[in-house]
Symmetry: D4
Subunit: 164 residues, 8 copies
């Protein structure tokens, strides 16, 4: 199975990004995690992207805040799908990171998820692998059924308490 | 090769969405296009998502404006990757569609591209197929090299004219 | 008397939504409360909307945060009035939920109240029932008079203290 | 049948508001239209709201731009449901009117629809009357079925042209 | 000397508004404070505005949050200068109150100060009285000189500490 | 009678500002108009403010766009009331000018009106003079009555045409 | 004299950027212009930045729209001052480009000017060279005096026409 | 070596601005710090700018919040490069200060850094001096190499812990 790369621009993003690791783990999807900054370590960031496909990666998740360029820098150097997580790390509620990540110019898509949406970034990476991996697709379906069940249990609990 | 679905919430979105069709065509990727509204034809939209995987689709592109729910409605009913194109169709410059598409709750990712970013949506879909399709990956690399060449030609033209 | 449905996308919304329950209770209006997610339990959400009218409901209140699709999903499956409460549950102060709820496309209105405006959602539902229920209309008038009296008491207290 | 009031703060809003009139007409719902300004004719505006219920109205639609106070001024003087249409009439794309209309304080709901959403305002008013009027509810269902049919026809046309 | 009216939409605004009282007090300008809501006590609010001039007021300060209509409601019922203080009291950082206060339609100005800017509202009221009151104008000049002195003392302190 | 100063940061603002001149003219209020830039002619701008009171001015209207500092620069150099008109002259719809004008620090109020609100700026200046000028106050009341009449005529026209 | 580099992410930005060229020309400051994209030609962009200092450049102006990474990519690869021009090229009025350019993380400043502010970018570059070039500093002062004169001429013209 | 001026509009900004001092200190760049307000001490602020060049300054850093005019007021009175730090000091997350600082009119650039970006302001000032100071340029390069090393150490630590 191809690996998923999880990059973040600063290790201070890790508490938010961690949910991507635990989600991939839960689905048994192998991953590699790195701290690479588009600005402070541009060479390492670039080298990672350039070699990612032949190093066995299937998708790259890149998390960054403020003028978040990491996902775009990845996208510029690989044709693998790049998933961007805008991180709320300035005073602007993550809006700066969201626009810096999603508003990419023609030719260079970044698959952007919600601000601080690390779990969804991992799920999207798994969905990408699951396009050609039926077992993984089944796991995704099973997880969803599980989630739906939990919602309905909460529904029943609330309904029992408040509906006469 | 798996097909790509291109859905739009209204046929008035077609002039923007069309670039997704021409991009897929350029790469020889088969696609199917539909007008389904999350609100006006919820049943058809849902049925399409539920059956998309077994109908041979590899990813779903969903374009919608305003309170853009189409991509989310797709995501809720399939485990295929769903790519959302926020369409500028209200007075709010597409910001409403962007937030309605990208700010998905945990468990239901939508891979969001820029407002009106139909070309990038198609390229992202191709990148997803290219994870396991080397020929397609090579085509993507070739197209990028072609694009870079064009930028550099424009650079040379401008530089020749203005730099002494 | 027709019942009011109070739906929320996640039980984490309950602390905000609770005021809708207490408000309906205060007016003696029967209600039913449910946790249904437009994305995680789309079938149950849809089924509820489809059957709401014949199950004796007069209006549906739907509360959700982020890319808040629940009210829209209700609106798409019933012709009952649907009242949307945008919930502040992301970093964006509820602006994402507000736009996702209020900017509905033509043909599918959602009666949107303020961010976290659960009390007003309940009052709006009561006003809808009161269009043809004079007793309820009188109760609304009485409650307003009571509210006005409270404001004026606060006015007198402040005025007594600061005005010479 | 109860009447619907359609108020606007300025006759320059009429080109947007007109769709509310045609929609009510299409459903055979009687209405009355007025130009009343919360600021320039506060007395007339207030008097209309105070007497609306006994004058046979079932709901009030109020359209205004900029610091849009008309719907709120209506809501303060009647317990009928008040539907607010924020009008784009300043440089701010209607965001000022939206927030001035939807962010009402506790106790005074305004059922807000999308910016310039006159058709939806009328449909919401009809839905309110249809809570206790089965024939009107059936008309709403029929109109929706008609709309869905149109979407699907457009889908077929597009699909026939582009899907091989 | 004419009095200044200080109105607030809710007594929960008092902690912010209080600085207006202390500022007027410091300048020896008489004032009257009231809690009147544009929505919950529209009659009292209106009556206050209608009679303000003949009751000896020279300007009205009105503070309100969310869809802040109080200053506009005053402006509609008096030709005295009305000063609006947008109060931050919702999740939207006071932007809703700012736009609801400042974006008044032609014919009905509200002199808007910064969000939560109670001190400046009082100073503006004093400036208005000081147009024809030389003593008050001198007091304003003296207070400014005092303020400037304080800034320069802080400058000296900081400069002494850090500049070699 | 005291004069009103109308300053603008650039003569390109004149088409918007002109309505302030015509409004003052209509009320017979004397005025002086100037092009002074807070940045390009800081000395002249400052000198004007410093001498405005003794030169017979009762209020200063200052119109500027983008990072609109003109009103603030006036306020820093006079204790006369300063009225700020934020001008829409950048790509940002006037939001930059609005925030640059209204969000003044404590001690330095600017009475801000709506974006491009030149008529209201003039009316506010007249209201300030009218605090101690009964004839002017009566003219303001008469103008309002006239305006109300016009609204009601438009109401009658619309009502006659559409209400049966 | 050191040269100024003017880079743009796309030749479609040239009509806006051109004013930087003419401004530098007016001051006799040598420059070189290039079309380099942070995403489509990352290698060329990077190489330019890495070698800029030894190639005789004193500052780099970088103009880009949407998720504008070009200035940041320059900043990451040189210690020369980098001046960023956010270009309005999406539906979002340039706000995306502004935040992507200005909100740089610690350690990597980009000297950001106004949206589409090409003239000011050039002036800032000249100011940087003028720190140690007295003749250039004098030219800047002269140009400002010239500008001030023009403003005052416009003032006189307007004042002559409207002030009695 | 030329000195850097660090000005702030209020001493309450010092906790944010302090990082500019420590950064300049780290690089051995002399500086002078002052509290000058564009509004409360306009004369002192202006005088500082007018004399800054002949007093041996090479650049001016100006930090201010809300309607942040300090940097613009500096720019209007010197041809030295002026670096603006927008300070978050109101309810609006620093957006007001950002727009008031960056959206300067043609002819008067302010080199704006991120909201609260004091470290980057200092680094930009150092870069400006380093254009003609090779030793300083080398120090900047060395500091960057150090920073990159730290990022890579954090990368190794994280990678060692999570990558198998």
């Amino acid at each position: 199975m191809k690996k998923i790369a999880i990059l973040m621009g600063s290790d201070s993003d890790f508490p938010v990004v961690e949910k991507a690791l635990t989600t991939l783990d839960k689905f048994g999807v192998p991953f590699e995690v790195h701290v690479y900054s588009a600005h402070r370590t541009p060479e390492e960031a670039r080298a990672f992207a350039v070699n990612a496909r032949e190093n066995g990666f299937g998708a790259i998740i890149a998390a960054a805040g403020k003028a978040a360029h990491l996902a775009g820098a990845m996208a510029a150097n690989t044709t693998l799908p790049v998933i961007g997580i805008p991180i709320k790390s300035s005073t602007l509620d993550g809006l700066d990171a969201l626009l810096s990540t999603v508003q990419m110019p023609g030719g260079m898509p970044v698959a952007t998820v919600a601000i601080d949406g690390a779990e969804n970034a991992a799920l999207l990476a798994i969905q990408i692998l699951a396009v050609t991996d039926e077992k993984l697709a089944e796991k995704l379906s099973a997880a969803r059924a599980e989630n739906a069940k939990k919602v309905l249990e909460k529904d029943r609990k609330l309904a029992d308490k408040y509906n006469k």
